[in-house]
């Protein structure tokens, strides 16, 4: 029997296609009240007065929480970073536009909306800055958090200045990526039910039930066991639901104040600012190379925006540390404080935005050297980690280049821009390298064998579209030697064994390893009890009295993380069609070949990579949280103004799985695939646009006005 790698259809498919899958806002509790946020339009200042008198006179209105009357939380509202600083009506300060400043609560949704519309805010604005350029002079270094660990802001090896002097060709350019907003289809939502004055049940749309549990327990000064967090299905997240934001506390506060269960969902416009986004970045690249293409210098310096009151660092320059063989490397991160909501991890944080700059610069270097861009990358293929001077746990990048180039037809590319046309359109081809860390964080799981020979496996991870219900069942079935139908995997509950955040491509590798270990342990125990093969499990449990036999295990990274660099790799190839008259860019084809260790389910893996690549199209051509600098707010704050790739924008997407075995990275041999599909994709498209038009676009998104 072999379940791992089997392209099993999603086991939660029937629930998702029939509407039976229940997302946070859809949990029904008797006596439910509805809450709606009121947010500031001042970007910085103080709330002088919230006049809710008219609102509270309306029928059905239960309360309007304001900075004046909201309960004082007995505990701190923030834990260890990356837990976020939130605004829970504990003071009158306004730090960014769209910050919550009041919460209207009523017995129906319509009445809550009506009440929210009647609330009047009087505020005292202060001078604000939302432009990165205005504060660049005040940029300061800051360490990062990535893959669940702290990483120094700066790293270097050799002497970049000397490397640039020795170079035959140099590229020194600045690249820019705009602020972006995650926009999962399911708006953030929380249902709060106080079962007793010190016992809280919360249904939340989150990537980490344990973070929600800890934040609520801390703020309300309760033992964490008193907070029960449930999230069976999450309607997309992409990093925006990784930290519990203001609305989670506000919903629990509202429920406490009105003495009823309360549910709250953000309106789509609320999602622009208060629940994070990818920060605006300005990146300086300096590359030097010999005539034959070998790099002599690689410098990547990134400045990214954060808020005045909290820190997020976009790790744009991290890949420069591991991706190419070069004797002289420097990689630096700076933050720039603005009057905005705190940015956060957004699908391939750092890698997506950083690879746009790095891989665009390499394309420019290839032009300067008159080398094929793929050849240039092969010339600089790193056999070992260039900064850490240690081996990779596995690396199949050459195979990715080869397989991707073959399937794409890279040999048909003309090096000269504007050389190919099709039906009046300029045709361009571009490529880029993709890389994303093979992250692994401590994870726990339990496995239980029932008297009927079926198994239950649990871990408190989340189903966010990652296929967790399906692949964990496959891992468990394999380890137990059972058919998948006899195994159930359950998740999304803070009473289950603790799992790491479902983010950062951490979760399948980490929980997959925990599930593997616990199922092996259970199998061993059953064999010690006399089982010989899966068919005898039921009999063994019955003979022992019939009570389920249970094992718990933990998987955690060890010393091997210090001896090896662990990365998933890939190669992205893009073909674009550019209308020479209108400047419209269409991505005709995107081919990506990826090697990420063991593939648990080829069907779901391809989907995840495909989704990441679609994000690359959005990043290259569409996505931009546009600020009005005067008002200090995002004005593209709905899905008509904030453009994401729609069906008509996406033509041929071909993700290819390149075989790779990694016996070091984690017990499951898995490197997560949630983000690598986005890495390099925007650069491959931008490089293809250059190939089509001869225009080098160094600032995303590539809109038609750039090409006219």
């Amino acid at each position: 029997m072999k379940n791992i790698g089997d392209p099993l259809p999603r086991v939660d498919g029937p629930a998702k296609v029939t509407g039976a899958a229940r997302y946070a806002y859809e949990w029904q509790v008797p006596g439910m009240a509805y809450a709606v946020l009121v947010t500031s339009n001042t970007a910085r200042g103080r709330v002088l007065e919230v006049d809710a008198s008219a609102a509270t006179r309306e029928p059905g209105v239960l309360a309007v929480l304001t900075p004046q009357n909201a309960m004082r939380l007995p505990g701190p509202t923030q834990g260890e970073p990356p837990d976020r600083v939130v605004q829970a009506l504990q003071d009158d300060r306004v730090y960014f536009s769209n910050q919550p400043v009041a919460v209207a609560v009523a017995d129906t949704f319509e009445r809550a909306v009506h009440a929210a519309l009647m609330v009047r805010i009087r505020s005292e604005p202060a001078r604000h800055t939302v432009r990165l350029e205005d504060e660049l002079a005040n940029a300061v270094p800051h360490d990062l958090i990535a893959g669940g660990r702290s990483i120094p802001a700066d790293e270097a090896r050799g002497d970049v200045a000397r490397g640039l002097r020795e170079a035959d060709a140099r590229v020194e350019q600045t690249y820019e990526t705009p602020p972006e907003t995650h926009n999962p289809m399911e708006p953030h939502a929380t249902v709060a039910v106080w079962e007793a004055p010190d016992r809280l049940t919360v249904y939340d749309s989150t990537q980490w039930v344990f973070a929600v549990q800890r934040k609520l327990a801390r703020a309300f000064a309760m033992p964490k066991e008193n907070v029960h967090v449930i999230a069976k299905f999450v309607g997309g997240a992409f990093g925006s639901k990784g930290s519990p934001w203001s609305h989670v506390l506000l919903t629990a506060m509202a429920a406490k104040q009105v003495g009823r269960p309360v549910k709250l969902a953000l309106m789509r416009p609320h999602m622009f600012g208060m629940v994070g986004g990818r920060p605006h970045t300005r990146q300086k690249l300096a590359l030097g190379a010999r005539k034959d293409g070998r790099l002599t210098a690689l410098s990547h310096q990134s400045a990214s925006a954060t808020s005045r009151f909290d820190v997020f660092v976009e790790g744009c320059a991290l890949q420069a540390r591991h991706l190419y063989a070069c004797p002289n490397i420097e990689s630096k991160h700076r933050i720039v404080r603005l009057d905005i909501g705190t940015p956060t991890f957004m699908r391939a944080p750092g890698e997506a935005s950083g690879s746009f700059a790095l891989e665009s610069a390499l394309d420019e270097l290839a032009v300067a050297l008159d080398l094929d861009p793929l050849e240039l990358r092969l010339k600089n293929h790193a056999e070992k980690d260039p900064i850490e001077d240690r081996p990779f746990s596995s690396k199949s990048l050459r195979a990715c280049y080869a397989e991707g180039a073959r399937r794409f037809g890279w040999e048909k590319r003309s090096a000269r821009p504007r050389a190919q046309t099709r039906e009046g359109m300029l045709v361009g081809m571009g490529m880029a390298t993709a890389a994303y860390p093979g992250n692994f964080a401590p994870a726990q799981a339990l496995a239980r064998m029932n008297a009927d020979g079926t198994a239950l496996v649990q871990s408190g991870m989340l189903e966010v579209g990652n296929g967790a219900y399906t692949v964990m069942r496959q891992v468990a079935a394999d380890a137990l030697g059972l058919p998948v139908e006899k195994v159930r995997f359950d998740l999304g509950d803070s009473t289950m064994p603790e799992a790491p955040i479902t983010a950062g491509s951490i979760s399948t590798a980490s929980v997959g390893s925990a599930v593997l270990l616990v199922c092996r342990a259970l199998r061993q125990r059953l064999e010690q009890m006399g089982a010989s093969g899966a068919a005898s499990y039921a009999e063994v449990v019955q003979r022992a009295g019939g009570a389920p036999i249970e094992e718990r295990s933990k998987a955690a990274p060890g010393e091997e993380r210090k001896r090896y660099t662990m990365l998933g790799h890939g190669a992205q190839f893009a073909e674009v069609l550019v209308d020479p008259e209108l400047g419209m860019v269409r991505v005709a084809r995107l081919v990506g070949a990826f090697a990420c260790g063991r593939v648990l389910n080829a069907r779901l893996a391809r989907s995840q990579l495909m989704g990441g690549m679609v994000w690359g199209i959005g990043m290259a051509l569409h996505e931009h949280s546009v600020y009005d600098e005067k008002l200090g707010r995002i004005i593209s704050r709905d899905l008509a103004d904030y453009h994401v790739a729609s069906n008509a924008d996406v033509q041929s997407i071909e993700p290819i799985l390149v075989e790779e075995e990694d016996t070091v990275v984690d017990p499951a041999g898995v490197k997560g695939m949630g983000e690598i599909g986005t890495c390099g994709a925007a650069a491959a498209i931008a490089n293809a646009v250059f190939n089509a038009t001869g225009r080098r676009i160094r600032s995303l998104p590539i809109t038609p006005d750039n090409l006219l």
Binding site: Y25, H114, G465, L639, I653
Partner: protein, 194 residues
């Protein structure tokens, strides 16, 4: 049939879409409360949902989407934007796809509404539901009911005669997980099956 059935019918903005217009924030800049704000008495509504006649007394401000989700417990219709921009709330009214967040419940008085809960025949999935599973045409699943109902209506509209037409016809339904190529494959699978 309307002259341009490929386009989503845009009815009247529900009250919640006022928030999208920026009325909720910085109310200091909004001199008067918006129209339709006055609470009204409950009104009677009768309609057919998934083959069942339903008679209710509702707040006249209730959108069809909120009626389905909050009053009838049919949460398969999803709220993604409440402004008719994402398609997650797509349902069929007399066989035609609409954004249920843009329709007041009262506007569908006496009409037949089909939600995702009414698409399967008992345990047997509708072929479009089965095709979505087979083609892995979703990930998180939140946009999926809307995508499926939209796809069913698209085929009924008879305009999905090319891949480009499928893509165009399905572009009112955003999938942030990026499953578009698989969504097209699912629709293609059923095209021409009648």
């Amino acid at each position: 049939m309307p002259p341009n059935p490929g386009r989503r019918d845009v009815l009247v903005g529900g009250i919640a879409s006022a928030i999208g217009l920026g009325l909720l924030d910085g109310c200091a800049t909004v001199p008067t409360a918006p129209a339709a704000a006055a609470p009204s008495d409950l009104v009677d509504l009768s309609l057919e949902v998934n083959g069942q006649r339903r008679a209710l007394r509702i707040d006249p401000r209730t959108t069809l989407l909120d009626l389905l989700r909050e009053n009838l417990g049919l949460t398969g219709a999803k709220k993604g934007c409440d402004m008719g921009q994402c398609g997650a709330c797509t349902v069929l009214v007399d066989g035609q796809r609409i954004d249920s967040c843009l329709a007041l419940a009262l506007q569908v008085e006496g009409r037949k509404v089909t939600t995702i809960e009414g698409l399967a025949r008992g345990e047997e999935l509708h072929p479009m539901q089965a095709a979505f599973i087979e083609e892995d045409a979703f990930q998180c699943g939140y946009c999926t009911p809307g995508q499926i109902l939209s796809a069913v209506a698209l085929l009924a509209e008879g305009v999905a005669d090319s891949d480009g037409a499928i893509r165009e016809g399905m572009s009112g339904n955003i999938c942030r997980c990026g499953a578009y190529p698989n969504i097209c494959a699912a629709v293609r699978r059923l095209r021409g099956r009648g």
